[in-house]
Symmetry: C3
Subunit: 311 residues, 3 copies
C-alpha cells in the first residue's frame, strides 16, 4: 500500500499494512464528527469507472473522495470508448491524463489488472467479476474489529451462499490471517469452495461446517449473512426451503450472544428480516458507514497523503 501502488487484491497488503489502513480509517471516523470535509485531497481527481451497476460501492468511493476535499469524474454503464474496442491498458493510460487515482468495477475477471498495465496512477479494484473486491473485505475487517474490539479469539460465522459469494471468499481469506475461529453455515449445495477452505487450514484456523444455524448461533461472535440467489437453484421449491432455513429473524437471535454482531454486504432481501433492524446486534448499516471511512483511508494512502494523519 505504498503511495502510487494499486489495490487489486487482498494479497496486495499484509497484516501490518491492514492495521495501518484500519487506523487511518478510524482517525477519519473520529474527525468526521467535527467536520464534514477535509482538505487532504484538495485538487485531486478520482476517476470512478463503473462498467456494471453498483450504486452503493460507487457512491461510497465518490463520497469518500468528496469528504477528503477531492473531485470526481464518473463513468457509469457501457457508455464508454470500450464500445469502440479500446483495450483496457489504453483506457488506463488515457484515464491517467484526466485523474489522479481511479477506482473500477467491471464484470470481467482481471479486467482491472489489465487496466493497470497502462495506468500511470493508482487504481483500486472495486470488483472484477467473480474475482476480488478488496475494499469490501477491508471494511468487513474494520467492522468486526470495531464491534468486537479485537481481531483475535472470536468466532465468525458465515451464513448463506458461501459457494458463489465473492465477498465471503475474500473476507474469509483475509480473516484467516488473524487468530479467529470460523463457522460456515450453508446448504450442502452452497458450501465454501475447497480453495477458500484451504487458506483457512493453511493458516491453522479452527472451523466448523454445518447446515443448521441454530446449532452454532450461541457461540458465534460475528454472523456474516449473505444473500442466497434464486438463480443458483434449478428447483425453485428448494430455493424457497433454503431461503427460510437460512433466514435471520427474532427467533434466530434468542440464543445468540448479546455482543453478537450481524453483518451483511447489502443489498439484503429476506435473508435478514426487517424486525432485526432495531436489534442492537444489527450491524449492517454501520458496515456501510464504515465503508466510507475505509475508502477514505485507501484514497488518502494510495495518494501519499495519509502520512500526517494521526492514528
Amino acid at each position: 500500500m505504498k503511495p502510487g501502488s494499486h489495490l487489486l487484491s487482498i494479497d496486495d497488503f499484509g497484516v501490518k499494512e491492514a492495521d495501518r489502513i484500519l487506523k487511518v480509517a478510524k482517525s477519519f471516523e473520529q474527525q468526521l464528527k467535527f467536520t464534514k470535509k477535509f482538505n487532504l485531497l484538495d485538487g485531486h481527481i478520482l476517476a470512478s469507472l463503473f462498467f456494471e451497476p453498483s450504486t452503493r460501492t460507487r457512491l461510497s468511493f465518490e463520497s469518500a473522495m468528496l469528504r477528503l476535499g477531492g473531485s470526481v469524474l464518473t463513468v457509469v454503464g457501457q457508455t464508454s470508448s470500450l464500445e469502440k474496442g479500446e483495450s483496457f491498458p489504453d483506457m488506463g493510460r488515457v484515464v491517467s491524463s484526466y485523474a489522479d487515482i481511479a477506482v473500477m468495477r467491471h464484470p470481467k475477471e482481471f479486467s482491472v489488472h489489465e487496466l493497470c498495465k497502462g495506468a500511470k496512477i493508482p487504481v483500486i479494484n472495486a470488483g472484477d467479476g467473480a474475482n476480488e473486491h478488496p475494499s469490501q473485505s477491508l471494511l468487513d475487517l474494520y467492522t468486526i474489529q470495531k464491534s468486537q474490539g479485537r481481531l483475535e479469539n472470536i468466532t465468525i460465522g458465515f451464513l448463506g451462499d458461501l459457494k458463489f459469494g465473492r465477498a465471503a471468499h475474500s473476507t474469509v481469506k483475509l480473516l484467516s490471517r488473524y487468530p479467529v475461529n470460523f463457522v460456515f453455515i450453508s446448504h450442502p449445495y452452497l458450501k465454501l469452495p475447497e480453495s477458500v477452505l484451504k487458506v483457512v487450514k493453511e493458516n491453522g484456523r479452527k472451523y466448523e461446517e454445518t447446515d443448521t444455524l441454530k446449532d452454532v448461533v450461541d457461540h458465534t461472535d460475528v454472523l456474516y449473512v449473505t444473500r442466497v440467489q434464486k438463480e443458483r437453484f434449478l428447483d425453485l421449491s428448494e430455493y424457497e426451503e433454503v431461503k427460510s432455513v437460512f433466514q435471520v429473524n427474532k427467533d434466530t437471535l434468542i440464543s445468540a450472544k448479546k455482543s453478537m454482531s450481524i453483518m451483511h454486504p447489502l443489498p439484503r432481501l429476506e435473508e435478514i428480516q426487517k424486525e432485526v433492524d432495531l436489534d442492537p446486534r444489527a450491524n449492517y448499516f454501520d458496515q456501510v458507514q464504515n465503508g466510507l471511512y475505509v475508502r477514505m483511508a485507501l484514497l488518502a494512502m494510495l495518494l501519499g497523503k495519509a502520512d500526517g494523519v494521526s492514528v
Copy 2:
C-alpha cells in the same frame, strides 16, 4: 421546514413558512448578481437520485447545490441496487452514509415517502409519479410574486391539460391559500379534477371554468400554460383540434394585459409558439431561473444553514 425535516408535499409547509422560503430565495437571487458561489454549504453533499429522466429538475437541484458551495453525488436511471430488489427504506438508510441531503424522483407514487422511513438525512421529493413535486409549486409561487409584485388580488389562469398535469394540481392547491382568483381553461375532457377544485372552494377562492381562452385572457394576470399530451386522446384528430385551440400565440396576446405573465413548467412544445418568446410577458424561462433560487433556499434551510441569510 425545520432543519433536518423532509419536503415531500406542499402540505409540509404553511403560508408563513412559504413566505420565509421565498424571502431566502430572493436573497440568493440578489446575491448571485455579485458572486457565482457561496460557501454556505461547503463540505455538504447532495445525493441526487433520479430514477426517471428529468434532466431539467436534476440540473436545477445540482446547480443550486454547487452555487451554495456543496458537492453532488448523482444516480441517474435504473442503474441502482434497486435492481437487486433493495427496499426504499434500506436505500434511504444507505444513502444517509454518503450524503447530507437527498433529492429523489421516481415514477412510483409515495416512493420518496418510503425512502424517508430509512433516511437519516433530509429528503426532497422531486416528483413521485402522479403525486407531488413541491419545489415546482414553490418556484411557481415565487415567479408569480416576482412578476406581479404580490400574491393577492390577482387572477391566475391555468390553461391546457388540467386533468393529468401534476404541476398544475399542486400549484392550484398552494395558490388557494392566498387571496387570488382562478380561471381554469381546458377542453371538457381535461378539466381540473373535483378533488383539486374542492381545495379552491374550501379556501373560499373565486374561480371560473371555460373552454375558451379568448373570453378570459383580458382579465388574467398570470397565464399558466401546460402541455396537452397526445397520449390522452383516443382520437388523434381531436388532439389536433384541442392543440390549436389552446395554443398561445401573438393573436392570443392582443387582448391580454401588458402586465400579464405567461408561465409554463417546460419543456414546451407547440402550446406556446416561439413568436411569443420575445414578448416581455413571456416568463417561462425566468421561471426556470427562479427554480434555481428556490432550490438553493430549500437546500440551505433543510440543512439548517439559512439562519444567517439576510432577507
Copy 3:
C-alpha cells in the same frame, strides 16, 4: 474567441487567436507541474452535455474544468428532456440558468449551432455528427507544435480513413493555414474528399497522395494515423487487406525520421501495433494529455478568465 463567444468550428478563430490558445495551453501545462488545481474558475459551472457516447472527450473537458477550480454538471445519453420533444434552442436557454459555460456532443449535424440560438452562455462544440469537433483540431495543432517545435517547414502525413474521418478533415483544414506540406496516404476508396483538398490547394500548400506508406514515411515529420472502420467495406476480405497495409508497426518505423511524431485521435485498434507504444516517436498518449491543456485554455478564455495567464 472573445469572452462569451461560442466555439463551434475551426472557422471561429484565426491564426493569431489559435496562437493565443496554444500559448495559454502551454502556460497551463507548465503550471500543472507545480499544482493540481487553479482557482481561476472557482465558482464556475460547466454543463457537460453528451448525447452520444464519448467518454474520452467528456472526461477531458470535465477534468479541465475541475483542474481550473470549477464544477461540472453532467448529462450523458438520451436521458434528457429532449425525449419529450424539447427544441435545442429551448434547451440552450434552460441550461444557461444552471451553468456558466456548456460543452455539447450530439450525433446530429449543426445541433450545437441550434442550441446556441437559445444559449446565454458560451458553448463549445464537442462533435456534432460528421461536422466539426474544433477542440480536437486544436489539440492536434498543439501536439504538432510541441513535438516539432514549430508549425512551418514540416511534412504532415495523414494515414488511414481520410474519407470519413471527421478529425482528419478539420485538422487538415486548420493546418492548411500554416506553411506546411501534406502527404495523404490511403486506400483509393478512402481518399481525402475533394472539399477538404480544395482548402489545402487554396492555401497554396504542397501535398502528395499515395496508397503506399513505405514510399513517404522517410520524409514525414508527423504521421497522423486514423482508424479504418470495418463498416466502410462491403467486402470484409478487402477490409482485412487494407487494415494490414495501413498498419503502423516496428517495420514501418525503420525508415522513419528519429524526430517523427506518430499521432492518433484514439481509441486505436490494430492500426498502430502495441509494439510501437514504447518507441519515443509514439505521441498519441501525449496527445490525450495535451487535450487537457487545450481545453483548459478554451474554458478559461471563453469565460474571460485567461487575461492574467502569463504566456
